[in-house]
Each structure stands twice: as structure tokens, then as C-alpha cells.
């Protein structure tokens, strides 16, 4: 008996010893950041989330789009106007032109979930500052309190939707991984997702609610990764119903889930289940409008602004960049442009879709999201410069696998929005957040970046970075020649477009290469 006890004791001691040694090994291999994640992912997520919130609040001190710029102001006024409309009109009239709802003045053109969100936020605003959402009288309302309350609605949406979704994603993504992995890396990944400079600048600087639709999408992605496909369908449908732009991800979700269903026992039944869930979610969200066809079509027509033309302003996509050489708008009527752009989009996301239907895999799904969003951004009809946020999201989720891709993409996504942010007087936060992003990418002793230092690559990097820095300086300090007032914008667009094309080609290739890797693994298994 005593012998046994002694044995147990000594084995315990050895266990302790080993544990201590492991601890020490981790301390050493982890460089400086193990302490941040020492209490588990959730605790370190908390601290990083607090920091990210602080950054967001600080950015929200700066001006919003269209501040003090009548008569139409900007996105800030649009969102405020939607609160005013949803708060004061019956639900059926929200999307309908009437004497009190002039659709030409920032008419509601997002799906119903955005309208509901505006209603809830409108209630919040009305409680503290009724004059900021009064019908008609509040048009162009600008005040200290009004700005503050509006900013707080975005902050709370971010904290309540995007942040939990990211936590869910990180927990799922690293659940199956080897625990001895460098723990600081996980903290880094959380930080890089939460401190995405583009998202912060657009939501908390320019003023939009992308955090909600993107948060719902991240939630859906995490559900897919944890094999809760029905939850994923609900969340993704909600994202679609908050911003129609979420459709950029539709091919990836569709193909991955279809591919998964095909490998089950009753594929048709599985697909049916998912379809019913999606349909159910849609019906619930659209409930006030599904009673009459007229209402339904009325809302639907508001969501598809085809009359606006194939692109607006300067966006780094195919149509806008090539229009320097080919005047698309003059050559083709809008109707055929629609078809052409649809064809181009479909043909560019098709390869990634086929890959996922053929061999659905979790990493492949993330690449698929990136590729389908990219093809929409580059080729679809009516793209904004802000839409780069959508391809950027899956890239940030992939940051651990593809750090270089993510860095490049973020830098050029930022750059492509520079003219817009400059107009919004957000240059200071632009610079500060770029610096913050750079610092996060160069944490001393953080990640051991496996840097490829081939001469060709480093010279290409130098040239490209130098180019963009020079363009920044030129844009800020010089006036363009009178004959080409938008020369600098066009140049920025050209640089960004080139980079995006290379990035999407690379991402597509990576997605197909996964197939090769998994085949190799399968073969090895067979051999064993």
C-alpha cells in the first residue's frame, strides 16, 4: 500500500516536473507574448477586444462622411435619415415613395434587417435627443450629442455582433490544434482580425454598419467550421438581409455546403433541410412585406440600384480601371453591361466553386470565400471602393496561414480607399491605423515570420511600397493637372487593381493546391 502511494507520488512529481519544463519551453519559444494568452484564449481576447474598442472610440472622435456638407451630406446622414424614417412611418411605408418619404433623399435601399436595426437605434437616439430623429425637421441634423449617439450605436453593434463572432471563430479555429502551438500567435491573430484598419475607418470614421453584416458572416463561417450547418445558414441569411453585398460570399457558402451534403447519405434531404432553413429565415425577416406581391417587389426593386451605372467614382476593379482605355459606359447600354458583368463574375468564381463542390474542406472554404468575394469586387456591377472590406474579411481569417497575402491586401485595400478617406478628412486616423497595423505585423519576438528573402521578391516589394508611398505624398501635396483632374485617383486605382489581380490569382492557385496536398495525405494514409 505504502509502496503504491510512493509510486504515485513520485510519478506525480515527475508529471509536475515535466509540466514545469514544458512551461519553461513555451516561455522561451513564445518570445514575449505568452503572458497575454496565459489565462486562455477568452481572457486574452478580452484584453485585445478592450484595446480594439479603445481604438474604435478614438477613431470615432474624428469627422464622419459629409460632415457639414449640405445638401446631401454623406453616409452618416443616410443612416440617420433611415432612423428618422423607420421611427416615424408605418413599416409598410419604409420603402415606398410618399410625401413624407422622399426616396431621392437617401431612400432606404438596404434589406429589411438594416431597417429594423435603424428602428432600434432610432429608439435609442429618440430617448436622449428627440430632435435628432424628428420627421423632416431633423434633415441634416448635426450636433455634438447627435454625433456621439450615432457613434455609440456603431460601437455597440461592433461590440455586440462582430466581437463575439470573432471570439467564436477563434475558439473554433484553434480548437482542434496542437496546444503546444506558439500561444502568442493566437493573440496576434485575434488582434489582426479586430484591428483591421479598413473596417475601423469605414465603420467608425466614415460611418457605416459593416460590422453587423460582417460579424454575422464571421459567425456563419465559424458555424460552418464547427459543422453546425443549419446555424450557419441562419446567420448567413441574416447577413444577407442586413446588406445585400454579403452575396459576395454566396458562391463559397453554397458550394461548400453543397459539397458537404453530397458526401452525406441522403444528399437531397440534406440540401432540402438547408434550403428550408434559409427560406424560413428570409420569410421571418421579410414578414411585413410578403403579404402582397406589390410590397415585395417594391422593396426588391429598391435593393437593386441598376440605374446607377456599372461603377461609381474610382474603384480599383476591372470595369473602372479598364475604362481608361475602353469606355464601357459609352460602348454598351446598361442592360448588356449587366449581363457582361454577370458573366465575368460567374466565370471568375466558378473555378473556386467547383473546387469546393468537388472536395469541400475547411481551409478550402476560407479560400473559397476570399476568391468569390474577390471576383465580385473585381467584376460585378455597381461596386463601391468600400466593398473591398468583403474580400478582406476572409483574408483576415486566413492571416495565420497567409500572413503575406493579408498584409499586402490590407495595405492596398487601405490605399484604394485613401481618396475617399481624404475627402472625409480622415487622413490622421488613416496614418495612425496604418502605423498600428504595421506595428502589429512586426511584433518584436512575436511571430517568427518565415520571410522569403529572395532578391527578386524583396526588390518587387520595395518598388511597390515605394510607389504607393510616393503616390500618397503626391496626392496630399500636389494639385493634379487641370486637364486630368482625377489623374491621381486613376493612378492609385491602377496600382491597387494590379495588386488585387495578382492576389486573387494567387489565392485561386492556393485553393486548388490544397487539393493536391490532401491527395498526397490520402495517398500517404493508404500507403501506411
Amino acid at each position: 500500500m505504502k509502496e503504491a502511494e510512493k509510486m504515485e507520488k513520485s510519478s506525480k512529481k515527475k508529471g509536475n516536473f515535466r509540466k514545469g519544463k514544458e512551461e519553461k519551453l513555451i516561455v522561451e519559444s513564445d518570445g514575449g507574448w505568452w503572458w497575454l494568452i496565459h489565462r486562455g484564449i477568452t481572457a486574452s481576447f478580452l484584453s485585445i477586444a478592450l484595446f480594439s474598442l479603445l481604438v474604435r472610440v478614438a477613431v470615432s472622435l474624428h469627422p464622419y462622411s459629409g460632415a457639414g456638407n449640405p445638401p446631401k451630406y454623406g453616409d452618416f446622414e443616410a443612416q440617420r435619415h433611415w432612423m428618422e424614417i423607420t421611427l416615424n412611418l408605418p413599416i409598410k411605408d419604409w420603402y415606398r415613395n410618399s410625401t413624407v418619404n422622399d426616396l431621392r433623399y437617401w431612400g432606404l435601399d438596404y434589406p429589411p434587417l438594416t431597417a429594423y436595426q435603424s428602428y432600434v437605434h432610432g429608439l435609442f437616439l429618440r430617448f436622449f435627443s428627440p430632435e435628432s430623429v424628428a420627421l423632416f425637421a431633423s434633415r441634416g441634423h448635426e450636433s455634438y450629442l447627435g454625433k456621439l449617439l450615432m457613434r455609440w450605436t456603431v460601437l455597440s453593434s461592433d461590440a455586440l455582433v462582430f466581437f463575439p463572432a470573432v471570439l467564436y471563430f477563434v475558439l473554433v479555429y484553434y480548437a482542434g490544434q496542437n496546444p503546444s502551438r506558439r500561444r502568442g500567435d493566437i493573440a496576434w491573430h485575434i488582434a489582426i482580425i479586430l484591428l483591421n484598419p479598413c473596417l475601423i475607418l469605414i465603420d467608425h470614421g466614415h460611418f457605416q454598419y459593416n460590422c453587423i453584416s460582417l460579424g454575422l458572416t464571421v459567425g456563419a463561417i465559424a458555424s460552418v467550421l464547427s459543422d453546425k450547418d443549419l446555424v450557419a445558414c441562419v446567420l448567413y441569411s441574416l447577413a444577407l438581409n442586413h446588406k445585400q453585398m454579403s452575396a459576395y460570399f454566396a458562391p463559397a457558402f453554397f458550394s461548400h455546403l453543397l459539397g458537404k451534403c453530397l458526401r452525406r447519405r441522403y444528399p437531397v434531404l440534406e440540401v432540402l433541410k438547408l434550403g428550408i432553413v434559409v427560406l424560413g429565415t428570409f420569410i421571418v425577416v421579410w414578414w411585413p412585406y410578403v403579404h402582397s406581391t406589390e410590397d415585395f417587389l417594391g422593396v426588391l426593386s429598391r435593393l437593386a440600384p441598376f440605374e446607377r451605372g456599372i461603377f461609381e467614382d474610382y474603384v480599383a476593379n476591372f470595369w473602372c480601371t479598364t475604362s481608361v482605355l475602353v469606355k464601357w459606359k459609352r460602348l454598351f447600354p446598361t442592360q448588356s453591361l449587366k449581363l457582361i458583368s454577370l458573366g465575368a463574375t460567374v466565370s471568375t468564381f466558378l473555378p473556386s466553386m467547383i473546387q469546393q463542390i468537388w472536395a469541400p474542406s475547411k481551409p478550402g472554404f476560407l479560400y473559397g470565400l476570399l476568391n468569390s468575394a474577390f471576383s465580385f469586387y473585381l467584376f460585378s456591377f455597381q461596386v463601391h471602393e468600400k466593398s473591398i472590406l468583403l474580400p478582406l474579411l476572409p483574408a483576415s481569417l486566413l492571416a495565420m496561414e497567409e500572413p503575406t497575402l493579408y498584409t499586402w491586401m490590407t495595405l492596398y485595400a487601405l490605399f484604394s480607399m485613401f481618396p475617399l478617406l481624404h475627402r472625409d478628412k480622415l487622413v490622421l486616423p488613416y496614418l495612425a491605423l496604418s502605423a498600428l497595423f504595421f506595428l502589429l505585423n512586426h511584433v518584436p519576438n512575436g511571430r517568427q515570420a518565415t520571410r522569403d528573402t529572395s532578391a527578386l521578391r524583396s526588390s518587387v516589394t520595395t518598388v511597390s511600397v515605394l510607389c504607393s508611398v510616393v503616390l500618397h505624398v503626391v496626392y496630399l501635396s500636389m494639385h493634379p493637372p487641370a486637364r486630368y483632374p482625377f489623374l491621381f485617383e486613376a493612378l492609385i486605382m491602377l496600382v491597387c487593381f494590379t495588386h488585387f489581380v495578382f492576389l486573387t490569382l494567387y489565392a485561386n492557385a492556393k485553393q486548388w493546391m490544397l487539393l493536391k496536398d490532401s491527395n498526397l495525405v490520402d495517398k500517404e494514409k493508404k500507403l501506411l
Binding site: 515527475k14 503572458w35 481572457a43 456621439l148
Partner: protein
């Protein structure tokens, strides 16, 4: 335990380069500070802008006598020279900033960016001080100190929102302390003299410096000692001469001193700093109330504390009047135990603690103390905090409390989330850092005890003891005290306006002062006890 773990952690991976890491910490905080540029700024912003104007537009002889604005120059000469130095650049950027009349209440973007960025850059001094103090510590301690000092929420609130140059001045203090810790006493004394010529409020620690330098530097036999004393004296006098000689030459000395020591200001600031006098005032009120009930004839004081500035008449109904001399004597008395310790065993490793204690005494009992002065002891205490578990626990409490005591500085709605997030972030980082630091010590301790094969029973008991005692656990008294902060805040922000409306606006502030006063009092006693026990 400390001694055992320290060498273990000192063989870091080869890539480690503390200087890059330090810069990284600084750069992160600089990014956040840049983002905060458009936030609220207090009248101190205009004060410092006006000083740029005075020092740039007027000859030196009029710096301390000018009355163009109510914001007269009331810092010692080196700070005036510093403003003169800044004004050169300000003049290059926008001459209106330094114009004596046209610059009054100037609020363009240029002045905003110039002044805000000047504070951010002057923090480089703090960076250097921290670097000097931590360059020989192990990696974990270093990082904790950087988190506590470079990312200090209090400095962000006071310097980068409210607007002052404390980071720069505290940097000088830290450089001086690092010299003393390294044994370079003369240099340390010299830098401290320089600091006094930047801001005279730092003089509270002068007795500690004096005693320590006398014993540690000069007490080396009669001849050598006397020689050293005269060298030290010469250095200090030279520094002061450099600062004040121009003003003596212009016959301005009296005016300078008059400006630097405005004793007409009263015992407490409009918002009471959380110190001993809060309790004194409250006791007076309670006594007046009770005695009044008992039938004594209590005359209401002519001046009231809640009304803001206080004149010469006694604001107390029952308790004796407090004069600047009283506060001075009280500060000296509370300093005595520390001075005696410093006299008996002048140990370089304890000097930071003593200086922090001296500033705590000054804060506790001083005349017209600002809540911002708590920075003077919280920042040096950060260096002490990483030394042991007890110190860390104490620091956890005092830094949260003194950060909370700064909340009334930022009273506008826009900055509310900022100050709350700063405090929460700071607490979370402290909690993560301290718990990792001390839990890790225990793990290594267990590993070491495993090596000793013979006395396994004993070692096991020790490791169990360490695990029970250990990690970073805070007692329930501390916890409930910290949690009750939430109640104070909820009362002040929500319940009070709902219940009382605009009436009795001083009650929430009084509550905060009292609440934080308890914490500072605790810290004062804790530090005193530690010094007595050491």
C-alpha cells in the same frame, strides 16, 4: 523564489532585442495618442499655449510679470526655457501660436496638432527613463513595467487628453532614480535638481534625496565625505544658479517666487483630491451637524468647500483651521520613518520605494493638492510592483483607484467611453501580466523542487503551499472595495441625476473623492508598513 527564477528567465532566445521591443511599446501608445488628438482638452491647453507666447514674444525679464492673460507662468525657469525651446518650432509652423495677443484662445488645427504632438514626443524622455530603469531586469519584469508605465492610462488621461507634460517630467524623475539605483549618486542628485527646476512640486521627495545622498554618497570619512558634500552642493547650486540667475540679474526673483507659490489658493482644489483632508472636512461636517443637534451654537463657515475656490476665512465649523505650515509639518512628520530608514541603511534598491512614499505623503497631507499629483507616486510604484506578489497586489489596487480618481477630469460625454476603456484595459493587462508572472514562478518552483529527490515530502508540501498562496489572487476585501467602485460610478452617472436632477451637483464628486481617499489612505499605510518592516 524570486532569486531562483530570475536567472532561469535570463537566457532568452537570441533574437530578443529589448530596445526594439521598447520602441514597439512606445509606438503603439503613440498611435493611440495620435488618434486622441481631437478629443477634449482642458484650459491647461491654453495655459501652455499662452506660455509659448510669453516666452517667445517677451524678454526674459517680463516672463513672470506679464499679465496679458490670467494664465500666468507659474512653473520654474527650466520649464519656461522648455516652452521657449518649443516656441521656436511653433513659430516656424504658425506664428500666430506664439503671438501674445492674437494667439489668445487660438484654436486652429495647427496649434492643436503642434501641442498634442509635442507632448507625444516629449514622452521620449519617459521612454528613456524606463529604459534605464529596466535594462537589467529579466524579460517578464521589463515587459510588465513597460505595460504599466508606457501604457499608463493615467498619463493618457492627464497628458494626452487633459493636457500637461507629466510624462516628460516623470521621465526625468525615473532617469534620476535609475542613476541612484546604479550607484551613480552624483548624477542622480544632479538630475533631481534639474527636475526641481522644471516643476517644484517634485520637491516633496527632496528630504529623502537629501538624507539618502548624505548617507550613501557623502558619508565616507571626514575628508572624503566633506569633499563629496561640497561637490554635491556645488552641483546642486550650479543647477539652481543656471535656472534662476537670469531672473536674479533682472531683479525678478521675488516675482518668480510669488508666482510659483500661490498660497492664497486654499487647502483643497475645487474637486477634492482623494487625500487626508477629505476625511478631515467630512469629520468637520459630521461634528458640526451632531453638535448642532445637541444644541450647541455652531456658526456656518463663511467659505464653503463645495463652492470651489476658498479664500482666507476658515472653512471649518468645528475643527481647527489648517494653514500651509500645518500641512508642511504633517508631510514632514509622515516622512520621518522613511527618512530614518534611509539614514540607517541607505540601500540603492529601496530608493524608488522611498521616493514613491514621499510623494504619497505629499499627496496625503499637502496644501492644495491636485488629483493629478497621484501620478507622482503611481508611476514610480510601477517599478516596485513587479518585485513581489505583495507589491503587485498593492499596485493593482492603487493604480486602479488613482486612475479612477482622475475620471472627473474628463467630464464630457464624448470621453466617457475612453476613460472607462482605458481603466478596464489597464486592469485586464495588469491582471493577465501579474498572474502570468507569478504563476510562472510557481511552475518553475515546482520544477526545481522535483529535482530534489531525497526530501520529497517537504518539497511537495512547499509546492502545494505555493500553489495555494500563489498565483495572482486578490483578497475578498480588495475585491469588494474595487467592485464598489462600480456602485459609486453608477450613482454618480445615473442614479444621482435621476433622483436629484441638477441639485447637489457636488455629491457625486465628493463620493468619488471619499471612495478613492480610502484607497489612497490604504496605500499610504501599506507603504509605511512595508518601509518599517524592511
Amino acid at each position: 523564489m524570486e532569486a531562483q527564477t530570475a536567472p532561469k528567465l535570463q537566457n532568452p532566445p537570441k533574437s530578443r532585442n529589448p530596445i526594439t521591443e521598447l520602441w514597439w511599446f512606445f509606438a503603439i501608445s503613440a498611435c493611440v495618442k495620435l488618434l486622441l488628438i481631437p478629443a477634449y482638452k482642458s484650459t491647461d491647453f491654453e495655459v501652455h499655449r499662452h506660455w509659448l507666447g510669453i516666452t517667445h514674444s517677451l524678454p526674459l525679464s517680463q516672463w513672470y510679470s506679464d499679465e496679458t492673460s490670467i494664465w500666468t507662468l507659474d512653473y520654474p525657469p527650466f520649464f519656461a526655457y522648455f516652452e521657449r525651446f518649443l516656441s521656436v518650432f511653433a513659430n516656424l509652423i504658425d506664428p500666430q501660436i506664439v503671438h501674445l495677443q492674437k494667439g489668445l484662445n487660438y484654436s486652429s488645427n495647427t496649434v492643436l496638432y503642434f501641442q498634442r504632438i509635442s507632448v507625444i514626443l516629449s514622452d521620449l524622455c519617459l521612454l528613456y527613463g524606463v529604459f534605464r530603469l529596466t535594462r537589467n531586469s529579466d524579460s517578464m519584469k521589463q515587459k510588465m513595467i513597460w505595460v504599466l508605465v508606457i501604457w499608463s492610462p493615467m498619463l493618457v488621461i492627464v497628458d494626452h487628453l487633459h493636457f500637461q507634460y507629466n510624462g516628460f517630467l516623470l521621465g526625468i524623475l525615473l532617469i534620476s532614480l535609475s542613476c541612484l539605483e546604479e550607484g551613480r549618486d552624483l548624477m542622480g542628485g544632479f538630475i533631481f535638481a534639474v527636475l526641481l527646476c522644471f516643476k517644484h512640486l517634485f520637491a516633496v521627495a527632496a528630504p529623502v534625496y537629501f538624507v539618502y545622498l548624505l548617507r550613501h554618497y557623502c558619508w565616507k570619512g571626514l575628508v572624503r565625505g566633506f569633499w563629496r558634500l561640497s561637490v554635491l552642493g556645488t552641483v546642486v547650486v550650479a543647477v539652481f544658479a543656471l535656472a534662476y540667475a537670469p531672473f536674479v540679474y533682472h531683479g525678478q526673483m521675488q516675482q518668480v517666487i510669488h508666482r510659483m507659490f500661490p498660497f492664497g489658493r486654499g487647502l483643497c482644489h475645487a474637486y477634492w483630491a482623494p487625500n487626508f483632508w477629505v476625511f478631515y472636512i467630512i469629520l468637520d461636517k459630521v461634528l458640526a451637524f451632531l453638535l448642532g443637534r445637541l444644541g450647541f451654537n455652531i456658526q456656518a463657515p463663511a467659505a464653503s468647500f463645495t463652492g470651489g475656490l476658498v479664500g482666507d476665512s476658515s472653512p471649518f465649523a468645528v475643527l481647527p483651521q489648517v494653514t500651509p505650515a500645518t500641512t508642511f509639518i504633517l508631510v514632514l512628520i509622515s516622512l520621518t520613518p522613511c527618512l530614518i530608514k534611509a539614514w540607517r541603511h541607505p540601500r540603492p534598491s529601496l530608493i524608488t520605494r522611498w521616493v514613491a512614499y514621499a510623494y504619497t505623503c505629499g499627496f496625503m497631507f499637502g496644501w492644495h493638492v491636485h488629483e493629478k499629483a497621484s501620478l507622482h507616486f503611481v508611476i514610480p510604484l510601477a517599478i516596485v510592483a513587479v518585485q513581489s506578489l505583495d507589491n503587485a497586489r498593492h499596485y493593482f489596487l492603487i493604480s486602479i483607484v488613482s486612475c479612477y480618481s482622475l475620471f472627473p477630469l474628463l467630464y464630457e460625454a464624448q470621453e466617457y467611453p475612453i476613460k472607462v476603456l482605458l481603466l478596464l484595459l489597464h486592469s485586464t493587462l495588469m491582471w493577465l501580466g501579474f498572474s502570468a508572472q507569478f504563476a510562472n514562478g510557481i511552475a518553475l518552483e515546482t520544477a526545481n523542487s522535483g529535482k530534489k529527490k531525497d526530501d520529497d515530502f517537504q518539497s511537495k508540501r512547499r509546492s502545494v503551499g505555493a500553489a495555494q498562496k500563489g498565483g495572482f489572487v486578490i483578497g475578498w476585501v480588495h475585491w469588494s472595495y474595487l467592485v464598489s467602485m462600480l456602485l459609486v460610478e453608477i450613482w454618480g452617472q445615473f442614479l444621482h441625476p435621476i433622483i436629484f436632477g441638477d441639485k447637489l451637483p457636488f455629491i457625486p464628486l465628493m463620493l468619488i473623492s471619499t471612495y478613492c481617499g480610502i484607497g489612497v489612505m490604504y496605500s499610504f499605510i501599506w507603504q509605511l508598513k512595508w518601509i518599517l518592516d524592511s
